[in-house]
């Protein structure tokens, strides 16, 4: 299978980091693209306002899977408030690839899921 994307995308697609289901996540959310069918679920283990562990499950394309892998690596150990500041542009840049416009949605889908998980986790910590 030839993938017209950078080495980092290929590496994280073939050897994704943090790809697993957590037994008892503090919060989780599944985002999906209704047209192409990409689905990614982000799970966080949160303690004292910080992300102790992040994991994901994806039935998604290489770009989306790599993006989820990189994102979960990046946010591990991060305070919730800091993770919430990650922008679309940063998620795209992390892939180190020239992303075709048509695939930007694939790249930012994990970030969409993460933002919702962070909102759920923040709400839970306030409750």
């Amino acid at each position: 299978m030839t993938l017209p994307y950078g080495a980092l995308v290929l590496e994280h697609f073939r050897r994704p980091r943090n790809q697993r289901a957590m037994d008892r996540p503090s919060a989780s959310h599944e985002a999906f693209n209704p047209l192409c069918g990409d689905r990614v679920r982000i799970e966080l283990d949160v303690e004292q306002g910080a992300i102790r562990a992040a994991a994901f499950t994806a039935n998604a394309c290489a770009i989306c899977t790599a993006s989820a892998s990189l994102l979960t690596e990046r946010v591990t150990g991060m305070p919730l408030q800091t993770a919430a500041l990650i922008s679309d542009a940063e998620a795209l840049a992390a892939l180190e690839s020239d992303m075709p416009a048509a695939r930007v949605a694939c790249a930012v889908l994990p970030l969409t899921a993460l933002r919702e998980v962070l909102r759920i986790a923040a709400h839970a910590s306030r409750a």
Partner: protein, 321 residues
Amino acid sequence: MADILEQLEQLRAHESRVAMATLIAARGGSPRPLGAKLFVGEGGRLLGSVSIGGCVDARVVEHGERLLRENKAERVTVTVDDAEAVELGLACGAEFDLLIEPISLDHTDAAIVAYETAVRMSRTGQSAYVITRLPAGGMPARMVSTHPFEADSADVFVERIAPADTLVLVGASDIGAALARQARTLGLRVVVVDGRERYATRERFATADELLVGMPSDLVRPYLVAGAFVVLVAHEYKYELPILREALRAPVRYVGMLAGRKRAESVRQLLRDEGLTGEELARLHSPIGLDIGGREPEEIALSIAAQLIAVREGKPIARRG
């Protein structure tokens, strides 16, 4: 191939009483399994068959109409002599024993209650046994058991109502829709899985037993059990890889994936790189289906359905060369 409850439901639309003929013994070979049924409606409708020879079924219909009028059950023997056998394409003459009984299609008829109970048990994944004590002048008496039961006399007939094999169909494409329709008529329980709710709709999959939308690998997991057929027609590696990782290591009966040879080999290579063994990868049927040369969705679905039957029957053509 509808189960008996579905057949009864079809009949209820038009009939209130039917004669139910059950094949209970055959000598000299039978094209239909014991337990095969032919229903003869009071209004003239026929459903099912106990033989592939038209004249055998025709004689059973005559008996059924008579027994409906007389409102009694009878054990009937239909004999096909050699001349008829040649005409029917049978290798030799044969005799068929049938239990023919009038039944009322309301839900209080004892026969219907017994079959409803057994089929409902089978739909929960458990085999059920309908034990029929054949009449000596009266009506048959039935009981249902979940324990295997051997007939201890010629006056007892035992039918095993086994759970239907499950087809887990990943990909709500046109090929998937065609295969779902065909598989249902072959007696398979059809579970359709996709991540896209615009495709996996009841309108497109009217006859599917279950229609599941979500993370496909999560949704498929509970069905990766002994006897299941897993067919991937999504033509999307995003679904294929996560599902194949588990399905090829599960005790399912069949795993097939829609792909050309080159693409199938690429998917195998990715899985090999992840550590799946040659033995596990050899379980994957891809390209999928028997090579009958079709291109349209219904034709491709037919080639896949044919392969599923070949696997079920243990035929050597099941694996594409």
